[in-house]
Symmetry: C2
Subunit: 162 residues, 2 copies
């Protein structure tokens, strides 16, 4: 996991991409249904899915949970600026954010802003406590800016597969 860009070694043909388009939306689709949709046998579909899982092309199979259902009503996007951009500092920040359960997503970005995080919290009080723990109480965080989500217009992980 040390390398940010781990190239996927397998070459995907149009069958693979067609399968991905389906399981991306519903990975519980029966292989028989997939098979007839892409005009392949169930065994071929099975082999390709297994290969793509092993190659890391399918990273994992997840049930996507509605945050509101479990009282995590606050979604916030946070821009975080570090005090410096030395490798050691950046790595410490990455480790911190990766380990924090409240941090649903974390991107290290260009453009002056060092990180963009997506944080999910039950309410504002807890959110404020989280920001204090992750940002205010860390010397290597110079500043941060919170954008509170009023509407999760689109909040999946779906990709437009070419």
């Amino acid at each position: 996991m040390a390398n940010p860009l781990k190239a996927a070694s397998r070459t995907l043909d149009s069958f693979d991409r067609a399968i991905l388009r389906i399981v991306q939306r519903d990975n519980k689709t029966p292989q028989r249904a997939i098979a007839e949709a892409v005009h392949l046998s169930t065994a071929a579909v099975q082999r390709r899915i297994a290969a793509m899982e092993k190659a890391g092309i399918i990273r994992w199979n997840a049930a996507l949970v509605d945050p509101d259902a479990i009282s995590l009503g606050i979604t916030s996007i946070v821009e975080v600026h570090l005090s410096d951009e030395r490798t050691a500092t950046v790595d410490r920040a990455k480790a911190l954010f990766r380990a924090a359960p409240e941090v649903q997503q974390c991107y290290y970005v260009t453009g002056g802003t060092s990180f963009v995080l997506v944080i999910v919290s039950p309410d504002m009080r807890v959110y404020e406590a989280t920001t204090r723990r992750l940002f205010s109480e860390n010397a290597f965080v110079a500043s941060f800016r919170s954008l509170i989500a009023l509407d999760r217009v689109k909040a999946g992980m779906e990709l437009a597969i070419p």
Copy 2:
């Protein structure tokens, strides 16, 4: 889908949350394994999962695909400012972003910035074309700022279930 905050009607007990913690990481876990992990019968697990799917608590079951594997190496976070915040304008923007396949995620946010998007592209050339189509060529977009991801430190949809 008109209401941004659709309250989930079902009340979750600790069994439900325990199940969610498991299927969130791997929704292909056999029900028997879930059952013994949470100390319930397989039938009970089965019924609870079905109920949570019907209630929308489990929004969908997805295979998460590695963007690099399908030549979508550029991930970008974009802040978008609208020319005005009238309802009609905001709704038009929401519809546009929701319909765009390149837009993986879209949040309508407070704090002066109207939207935060996550956009996935095969390369910079295509990314630039996308920004032109979605932002530069739309009169209701006043400005936007791109933050290119150097590292997807954490890029799932997992929630810390309380």
